[in-house]
């Protein structure tokens, strides 16, 4: 019996060991495996809340226009051409589009203007999660369908901003045949959806839409993009398959926005950077974007990894800045802000935190946008002596104990130059910049209290004006130059956390937002950079460079300065060597 039992245990053990082997990873050559650091969480196209979900959305759905980094502008995607625009006497914009005649849904029916009208109604349907869409596209007041051409329509937009023209084409188009096969919303007008009570047809539609549970079943709403979601294991991976008969394949010479090469995309969710690096080196993933500087440099220096991997860096539109709250008494004077800016040693910071892989800038326009970047200004230099001079000019006096004081304006107690420096806790680059600044400020007799803070608490403090100086990142893009949320008086209490408010600056921001001519826009933007350089509501430390490491078999990976840092649909894996 004992012998039988021991043999049984041995047999089970051997069987277990045999099944422990990983299946042969025969990744098809046209499959690309990409690392994500977080799950998309919610794939309802009305709720795109993080960059993973945004990537799925852009591969699944098409909008009328698409942002093109190469063109530094929006380009036609589902639209046949850039829209024509007419301005009416009552400050309305009439933006007219025509859809591509080749555009088809997965069931072969053409994509028509009534699909766009349907999408706008979904985006305004009470009972659905439409709050963000209403905030972003609420300026589209109505849609007028062309009675003679089923593909032509006009969007009636409020406000004269040229950005509204581009933004009017930047929402995903949904298939009416899937969500509303009987066309029950066709009789409902867009304006009716914005009134209470909601029309009965809209309430019934909202119920049907919610029942689809698109947040976790994206496959139930096929879009007109090149890919469809095939598997989604929350928190583990998501796979997408290219449609074998995508409508854009019939175009004789499809533009880049309508090209898609890999047959399958597998997104592996690996939150930890070190694990993701190991997975890349082991060949368990093919592409790792937005790689930390230290890991990237280490791989670049390894001969074995250089054989297996290719490395890319590209300038992004995301910058790290030291942001002043100009409402604080000690920071009201621009000279004080300039003096404190001179205490950041930017080259040392770039070397220390980014392994030298970042680009300093004079202001909030990326140096890669050469037409708009003000290259006549000089990069702020690290100079405690210049900082001391500027402080004296601002009325600060050095005390015998080395600190700085300034008499108060209304005869109150003198002001002491002491600051709190807030930043998101756990961010190594922010912490290094804070420590560097603290050391330089202390040497000059300025007390700096470091305040690493949890992200949402910090956001709340910034909005309430409870910080002095903060280190944070700002993200821009090459398409839109409307700085109203960031620096206009109207943005105070919302996106303008510096509290910066100057009539001249407000005027320039409005002129830039209204400028349509590139030459005029360039002139205004250069002037705006000079103004900010003088006023210094924040000082730009550096623009980040996005780092991408990819397997050799992917060939040349198209990288971009916009997140996620690559264009998955445009990767063309190399044919395997026979």
């Amino acid at each position: 019996m004992k012998l039988f039992l021991s043999r049984l245990v041995l047999g089970l053990w051997v069987g277990l060991l045999a099944s422990c082997s990983t299946p042969a990873s025969d990744t098809p050559p046209s499959t690309v495996r990409i690392r994500w650091d977080r799950d998309p969480e919610n794939l309802d196209p009305l709720v795109v809340s993080n960059k993973s979900a945004y990537e799925v959305s852009t591969l699944t759905y098409c909008s009328l226009l698409s942002g093109s980094e190469a063109d530094a502008d929006f380009v036609p995607w589902l639209a046949e051409d850039f829209p024509t625009v007419e301005r009416t006497a009552d400050s309305l914009l009439l933006v007219s589009y025509r859809l591509r005649p080749e555009a088809r849904w997965d069931n072969g029916t053409p994509i028509l203007a009534r699909d766009v009208a349907f999408t706008l109604k979904v985006m305004n349907c009470p009972g659905l999660p439409i709050e963000m869409d209403q905030a972003m596209f609420g300026f589209i007041q109505d849609i007028r369908l062309d009675s003679t051409d089923a593909r032509r329509f006009t969007l009636v937009c409020s406000g004269p901003s040229p950005d509204h023209i581009r933004e009017s084409g930047d929402f995903s188009i949904f298939p009416e045949y899937v969500l509303d096969p009987r066309g029950e919303l066709r009789t409902v007008q867009l304006a009716d959806l914005r009134r209470m009570p909601a029309p009965a047809a809209a309430t019934a539609f909202a119920g049907r839409y919610q029942a689809l549970e698109l947040a976790k079943h994206p496959e139930r709403l096929p879009g007109c993009g090149p890919y469809k979601v095939t598997t989604w294991q929350n928190g583990r991976y998501l796979t997408m398959a290219r449609k074998p008969h995508w409508w854009a394949d019939t175009l004789p010479a499809p533009p880049p926005a309508l090209q898609a090469f890999p047959d399958q995309l597998i997104y592996q969710i690996i939150p930890d950077a070190a694990t993701a690096t190991l997975a890349l080196r082991r060949g368990e993933i093919d592409l790792y974007a937005l790689m930390p500087a230290a890991e990237f440099t280490r791989l670049q220096q390894s001969a074995a990894d250089r054989e297996k991997l290719r490395f890319y860096t590209t300038n992004s539109y995301e910058f790290l800045a030291a942001s002043f709250d100009v409402r604080q008494p000690v920071l009201r004077d621009a000279r004080t802000r300039r003096a404190l800016s001179a205490l950041f040693n930017i080259p040392a910071l770039i070397a220390g935190t980014q392994q030298g892989n970042a680009t300093p800038s004079v202001g909030l326009i990326s140096p890669r946008l050469k037409a708009y970047y003000n290259d006549s200004l000089s990069i702020p230099a690290f100079s405690p002596a210049a900082a001391a001079d500027l402080l004296r000019q601002a009325g600060w006096q050095r005390q015998p104990d080395g600190t700085w004081q300034r008499p108060a304006a209304a005869g109150g107690p003198p002001q002491k130059l002491q600051l709190g420096l807030s930043y998101r806790a756990g961010e190594a680059a922010f912490e290094t910049a804070a420590l560097q600044f603290q050391a330089a400020a202390r040497a000059l007799g300025i007390g700096v209290d470091l305040r690493p803070t949890e992200q949402s608490v910090l956001s709340g403090q910034l909005h309430k004006g409870e910080t002095d100086l903060s280190i944070r990142t700002f993200t821009g893009n090459p398409f839109s130059f409307d700085f109203t949320p960031l620096l206009h008086t109207r943005g105070i209490g919302a996106g303008n956390t510096t509290g910066f408010s100057e009539p001249a600056s407000d005027q320039l921001i409005e002129q830039i937002a209204a400028a349509n001519e590139p030459a005029r826009k360039a002139l205004l933007l250069r002037r705006f950079q000079r103004l900010l350089y003088q006023e210094r509501p924040f000082t730009v430390l550096y623009f980040l460079r996005y780092r991408v490491a990819a397997a050799q078999r992917l060939g040349t990976v198209p990288v971009t300065g916009l997140k996620p840092g690559y264009e998955a649909a445009h990767i063309r894996p190399l044919a395997p060597k026979s």
Partner: protein
Amino acid sequence: MVRAVLRRTLRLLLAAWLTLSALFLVSRASTDPTAFLQATFSNNTRLGGQTEQAALTQRLLGRYRLDRPLFYASWGTATGWRWHGFHNQYHQWATGLLRGELGRSYRQDETVTELLTRALRYTLPLTLLAAVGSGALAFWLALGFSYRPRLRRLGLALLHGVQSLPLFLVAVGLLLLLANPDTLAWFPAFGLGLDSDAGAWWQYPGRTLYYLALPTVSLVIVSLPVLVVQLDGAIQRELAQPYVATARAKGASRRRTVRHHVLRNALLPVLALLPELLPGLVAGSVVVEFLFALPGMGRLLAEAAATQDYPVLLGAVGLVALVRLAAQALTDVLYQFIDPRIRLL
């Protein structure tokens, strides 16, 4: 006996209700209800003016029913006590809880119950494997130490050394040692593989074991020293008792004495570890799940905390608290089972 069990169950339910209510009220009262919206706003450059953002905030708070008062009554220095009736967040949450609903996640638009169930599917195999592994190993080592006193000193010194290592270091060390192309690439670096590569059904247990090997071993290594030291201490105390000398005098071998006489008595102090161990089984391990890319309870809790997803946070913390209460009750029962002289009920 029945009355005693009923009384104990009622006390357990009351304690659970009070714990969950306190968690709900403290977490909501001490935080800004708009905090979880801030990240959305800071990532969106299209939301221009203050009025626009304020209106959006109000609409989103309405969607999540956070625009209601927190409790039935509130106190304000200017207004004094104010009665809000049943139209409040606590009432809505409590009535939902009575129906077995824990609410919906702000981020994922799924019920908290679904999210917890899914996370437990990944956490329980990992933590149970680790618990069984470390428990079995602890028994084996503690018994071995009692048979071979010379090994005991060396083994305990080694275990005290291991105890000083943080879990993160152990897990990274294993990853770099056993899943690294530069050293030994024996195990996968992350996750549980693709379901499409799963193979035949009979391969599933082996495949899961293969993927969970490094996370499990990490947990076993860090939990083993406490168990061994505790059990070994208890065995050593029992070995000094007169009944051991009697058993040996009657001719029982040291091994037989330990197994048949000492072990049962030595288990009593180890039972005190149960209320610590069982909540850990459902709470998962943030470090291990984060490092090995496993979407279990630890990661769910950490992500919910980082994004202020309070329904998920409350559901997960509440579950852990409930298991802790249940573990305490179970420990009491086990005490009586092992030593019938103990009367707790």
